[in-house]
């Protein structure tokens, strides 16, 4: 019943595991195919996080969001490809090979939820779950030309999400339209006491495209150095469209952007170095050799099982937390993170949402990003929302060089509804 290889019909390698059969059950998603990112636990269905170190692991329980999908009758038809443990911006870091971008198969789909984005963009499924630690829902949504929402931190339970950087990541909905994203969001936000970082605040909302009087802040930094002027121009056109629909657009500044990317990478690698210590071949995954001594056996297992980017990030995080460097890196990163939060607090005193490009460029060519730092730099526009915990959506906003561009809309804490409304207004404006 299960196929753990890419099926030949999966032209873009969107899936790691596909399930050819699902029995329709009643519910709001009855019989609707849904793809689930492969770092979200599914009882009885292999879950690899895109890593060879979890090959063959079959979770004995469902993530909360998977239980919710099943309760609504969704047909979970497969587990989607991803950068290993979510560490990447292209899905090329998967231990199972890269996913291709349906908009142009010579390009990456973005990452790390590239498989989910490609599955939706190619029409294989209408709905998918992604996860977003530093842009991993919004980046592939932008690169593939679909819609993806990173909810407010604490709105969707992470129970059963295999952790990479707990303080940053959220599970969120991906689909072609804002209304579908909104529908899936209603289902995902049912309260779960098993994740102590969530609060009981379900999202129940019908998208309202009326945005007259809405104030939209546009930070200069989102159109600054490193942002492709052609992408910037497409996104400005999008923001102008919102203005024509009655929104008031004001330019603003986010000085913390100077530190945001470094703060993000210090934080996520530090958390990863701790989280990924559990992968030692003892409790799951291909086994460690139990004959050599402990450290030797684990080092061998982890060298073989983890890809280069995962090992790089575990080592960076170990370094950032190590004695003598903690103050220089981790402590200062947390101070910078507070500055990012403070910037959002200050801006939201006068604006309702903040808008800009999702990504500084269009999708890269496969194999284009070889230097880790240059790949990290492409996350600059998405990481602020994760550092602060605010909701952020990417909606398709036209094309540059023939490739999709995403408009990013960030909102206030626990006002995911407003983000959805502005995105809905934009979508209607585009199709009008």
């Amino acid at each position: 019943m299960l196929s753990v290889t890419f099926s030949p019909e999966d032209r873009f390698h969107a899936f790691i595991t596909t399930l050819p059969r699902a029995e329709p059950e009643p519910g709001r998603l009855s019989g609707i195919p849904v793809a689930v990112k492969d770092n979200i636990s599914t009882r009885g269905i292999p879950t690899t996080c895109g890593s060879r170190i979890l090959e063959g692991y079959i979770p004995p329980y469902d993530a909360h969001v998977v239980s919710l999908l099943k309760r609504e009758g969704a047909a979970i038809i497969g587990k989607t490809n991803m950068d290993e443990f979510g560490m990447g911006t292209t899905t090329e870091n998967s231990g199972f090979g890269p996913t291709l971008n349906p908009a142009d198969p010579s390009r990456v789909p973005g990452g790390s939820s590239g498989g989910s984005a490609a599955a939706v963009a190619s029409g294989m499924v209408p709905l998918a779950l992604g996860t977003d630690t530093g842009g991993s829902i919004r980046c592939p949504a932008a690169f593939c030309g679909i819609t993806g929402l990173k909810p407010t931190y604490g709105r969707v339970s992470r129970y059963g999400l295999i952790a990479y950087a707990n303080s940053l990541e959220q599970i969120g909905p991906m689909a072609r339209t804002v209304r579908e994203v909104s529908l899936l969001m209603e289902i995902l936000t049912a309260y779960d006491p098993r994740d102590s970082t969530t609060i009981n605040f379900p999202y129940r909302h019908t998208p309202d495209p009326e945005i007259r009087g809405t104030r939209i802040g546009v930070p200069e930094e989102y159109f600054g150095e490193g942002v492709d002027p052609r992408v910037a121009s497409v996104v400005w056109d999008g923001i102008t469209l919102l203005e024509r629909r009655g929104a008031e657009v004001v330019t603003c500044r986010m000085p913390s952007m100077a530190y945001a990317l470094a703060a993000y990478y210090v934080t996520c690698t530090s958390e990863a170095s701790s989280n990924l210590a559990r992968f030692d071949g003892v409790r799951y995954g291909p086994p460690a050799d139990t004959r050599p001594p402990w450290h030797e056996a684990f080092q061998e297992r982890r060298r073989e099982g983890f890809g280069a980017e995962v090992r790089r990030r575990i080592m960076l995080g170990t370094f950032a937390l190590s004695s003598g460097y903690y103050g220089k890196y981790y402590a200062r990163a947390q101070a910078a993170r507070q500055q990012v939060r403070d910037d959002f607090v200050r801006l939201f005193r006068t604006v309702d949402v903040i808008a800009g490009p999702t990504m500084p460029t269009v999708a890269f060519r496969l194999g284009e990003k070889t230097d880790p730092l240059s790949m990290y730099l492409s996350d600059i526009l998405t990481v602020p929302a994760n550092l602060a915990g605010v909701p952020a959506i990417s909606v398709p906003c036209g094309r540059s060089e023939g490739l999709p561009v995403g408009l990013q809309i960030m909102g206030q804490w626990f006002r995911d509804e407003k983000v959805i409304d502005v995105a809905c207004a934009f979508e209607q404006g585009v199709s009008a």
Partner: protein, 89 residues
């Protein structure tokens, strides 16, 4: 700047395993990334993490959980209901 020796030490701390051939490449990449992180030197570290947070407590009650068989199901080596791990000494 970190040296190859430093990177080897970090790999040891992280139980990550690193080969001689990889050391030079990782060290070069580390130095590029750490140079970039130096921008954080401009951030005033004081005051970080001072937030008005409250813990949320719950009663410690027994609830349904996985069986021992389910917990051990993914381990390749088990013995008498335990995981089998490499020797410590």
């Amino acid at each position: 700047m970190v040296s190859e020796h430093d990177v080897e030490h970090i790999a040891e701390l992280a139980d990550i395993g690193i080969s001689r051939e990889e050391l030079a490449e990782f060290t070069g990449q580390f130095n590029g990334i750490l140079d970039y992180f130096d921008i954080l030197d401009q951030v005033e570290a004081a005051g970080a993490g001072e937030q008005d947070l409250a813990n949320i407590f719950r009663e410690d009650e027994v609830e349904p959980s996985l069986t021992q068989e389910e917990v051990l199901a993914n381990a390749r080596e088990t013995e008498d209901g335990f995981f089998r791990a490499p020797r410590v000494m």
